[in-house]
């Protein structure tokens, strides 16, 4: 409950600071202090030191998994503020405090959707995540592409919300309750078909939100059109949060149905991996390549659902962490580049050696090379699928796709190190460099000892 309440309060605080403090760097400092306090508040709840007690009538359920994920999301948002604060200030319209306020509201939605115990709360959580995102997408008001992306995202997102509500309605019709515990207990033999139809609609709408394959069409345009700072946020923390909501739904509500959902899921996983990886190869812009690569990474994260067991839960935590850190880092470097194509990276190793080295580590992690966290996260996902048995072809297919992904990640590294050019970045502050170095160190450290993170699951 701490994270939900404090993120909302800090959001309101930042909303007021947008007209109380005119200075942009003051607003950024307030946001950074607020995110540190929010992290401490969530730690206090995670380690059982202090929590705000609210009688929520079974609407919320706080598990160690959800709380650990909250810490990860808040911590990465803090890193994101440190790295990209300047870029948020660079968006010419509006004061940055408004954007910080919206990001805090999104964190409130993240905390709700990692702890919901009622379909009603799931809906509210997903909506609190989505609505500020539509605005952040369109925040670059003078850019036509940003406007188009925002409108497209808004229309498609509202449509998928409608589908989700229809699914929840059908489930309510079948079970006469929103509460997840009661849904799993209650059995109405005659209304099983009703329940399954509702679940199918829920599956579709959540697959849309995480941009899984048949429902991924909005992703490249929206990620490409949105300002790069906000693409970084929505491709990482938001996507991971929806996955956490999805896995909880899958573990409880979906397992209450007699239908075997693994066939549908395996098709979605295979299609997501295939389309994401193959289309990423043909991109000329690094930003668009990262958009497709985020679809491909979503395919790997879907393995956590497909093979739901203890390993996959650990894997999802590791995956969301590794993927988010690496992607936030790459997007932060990308935001500083003048030219978003692969050629724009030519010779970065000579002009900015630290940026090039850390970006390479992040790319290696995304590709799943050993000694980085990306390797272990992919390993846990596939190990979970192997342990469950059945549909082994999917594991082989995923490995093949991971091999394909090496091609387009290494193209960026090749541009940076082996091609001559003068990739130009504006002045880079020491804080920016050191944050990147720290993130790269985290990527390697957790790649060697993943248990440093996973031990917190078992408190």
């Amino acid at each position: 409950m701490n994270a939900i309440i404090f993120s909302a309060v800090f959001g309101v605080l930042l909303m007021f600071s947008s007209f109380l403090f005119q200075n942009k760097s003051t607003q950024r400092n307030i946001a950074i202090v607020a995110i540190v306090l929010l992290l401490l508040a969530n730690f206090a709840e995670q380690f059982g030191i202090w929590r705000i007690q609210v009688n929520n009538h079974g609407m919320l359920h706080f598990s160690s998994f959800g709380l650990l994920f909250n810490s990860i999301a808040i911590g990465i948002t803090g890193l994101y503020f440190l790295l990209s604060g300047k870029d948020i200030e660079a968006i010419d319209s509006g004061s940055p405090a408004d954007y910080y306020a919206l990001i805090f509201f999104i964190l409130c939605g993240v905390a709700v959707s990692s702890a919901y115990n009622s379909l009603l709360m799931l809906f509210i959580g997903i909506e609190i995540i989505s609505i500020p995102l539509y605005i952040l997408t369109g925040s670059d008001k003078r850019n036509l592409k940003s406007n188009e992306a925002a409108l497209k995202y808004f229309l498609m997102g509202s449509f998928s919300t409608g589908i989700m509500l229809m699914g929840i309605t059908l489930i309510y019709g079948a079970k006469a309750t929103f509460n997840i515990d009661q849904i799993t207990e209650m059995v109405h033999p005659g209304r099983e078909a009703w329940f399954n139809a509702g679940l199918l609609l829920l599956l579709i709408s959540l697959a849309f939100k995480v941009s899984a394959a048949p429902f991924h069409f909005w992703t490249p345009d929206v990620y490409d059109g949105a300002p790069t700072v906000f693409t970084s946020f929505m491709a990482t923390i938001v996507k991971a949060a929806v996955f956490v909501a999805f896995i909880r739904l899958y573990a409880t509500v979906f397992s209450a149905s007699k239908y075997d959902w693994r066939l549908i899921l395996s098709i979605i996983v295979a299609a997501t991996l295939f389309i994401g990886n193959i289309t990423a190869i043909f991109q000329q812009s690094v930003k668009r390549m990262l958009a497709y690569s985020s679809i491909a990474q979503a395919g790997f994260m879907l393995f956590a659902l497909y093979a739901y067991n203890g390993i996959s839960k650990e894997g999802l935590i590791l995956y969301t962490f590794g993927y988010s850190v690496a992607t936030v880092g790459i997007f932060a470097v990308l935001g500083r580049m003048k030219d978003y194509t692969f050629e724009g990276f030519n010779g970065l190793a000579r002009t900015q050696p630290i940026l090039a080295a850390t970006t390479s580590i992040f790319l290696l992690s995304l590709a799943g090379i050993p000694l980085t966290i990306g390797f272990f996260s992919k390993y846990y996902m596939l190990a979970a699928a192997v342990k469950n048995g059945g549909h082994l072809w999917l594991v082989f297919f995923a490995i093949l796709c991971a091999v394909v992904s090496v091609y387009y990640y290494f193209r960026v590294i090749q541009s940076m190190y082996f091609k001559t050019g003068d990739a130009d970045t504006p002045f880079v502050t020491p804080l920016f460099k050191w944050t990147l170095v720290a993130m790269a160190a985290i990527v390697i450290l957790l790649g060697l000892f993943p248990n440093l993170l996973l031990q917190y699951l078992y408190f």
Binding site: I4, A8, G11, V12, M15, V54, N56, H57, M59, L60, S93, G94, D98, Y99, A101, L102, F105, I106, C108, G109, V112, S118, L120, M121, I124, E127, I128, I131, P132, Y134, I135, G138, S139, K141, G173, H188, P189, G190, R191, A193, W194, N196, A197, L200
Partner: protein
Amino acid sequence: MSITEILFWFLTVLAIGSALMVIVSKNPVYSVIFLILTFFAISGHYLLLNAQFLFIVNLIVYAGAIMVLFLYVLMLINLNADAEPMKNKWLKIAGTVAGGCFLLVMVAALRTVDTKGITAQVGGGDIGLIETLGKTLFSEYVVPFEVSSVLFLSAMVGAVVLGKK
């Protein structure tokens, strides 16, 4: 057939018929007016269930505020025949096939359902009265009620952000 049943069937036919007309009619202004009619019919259903508060809120918010906004927007933007975007024939066919498949799935799902034991309480019951609603909202559903304020706050901040020069 009691008067309630006659009213129920009348409202149902009205709702479905006008909902179809929303899609079918060529003129968008007619579509909006049929949508208002649909909302009125659904509000009538709420009244049959003795949900007076829901009835009046549905009328004020949807049929009143939102639909009037729709009409204004339609009048402000230019809707000529040549402003219509080109519609791809194959896209239409694909949409029809997909929608038809979805209809088939839903009909198949709902056909076999045993609805015995689910009967709506008509013309009585106090579940839709303001007093009961308020008590439920501030006891059992207080957390979603309060959390949704964050949703509205973020929507308001967003409107300001997008509206500012």
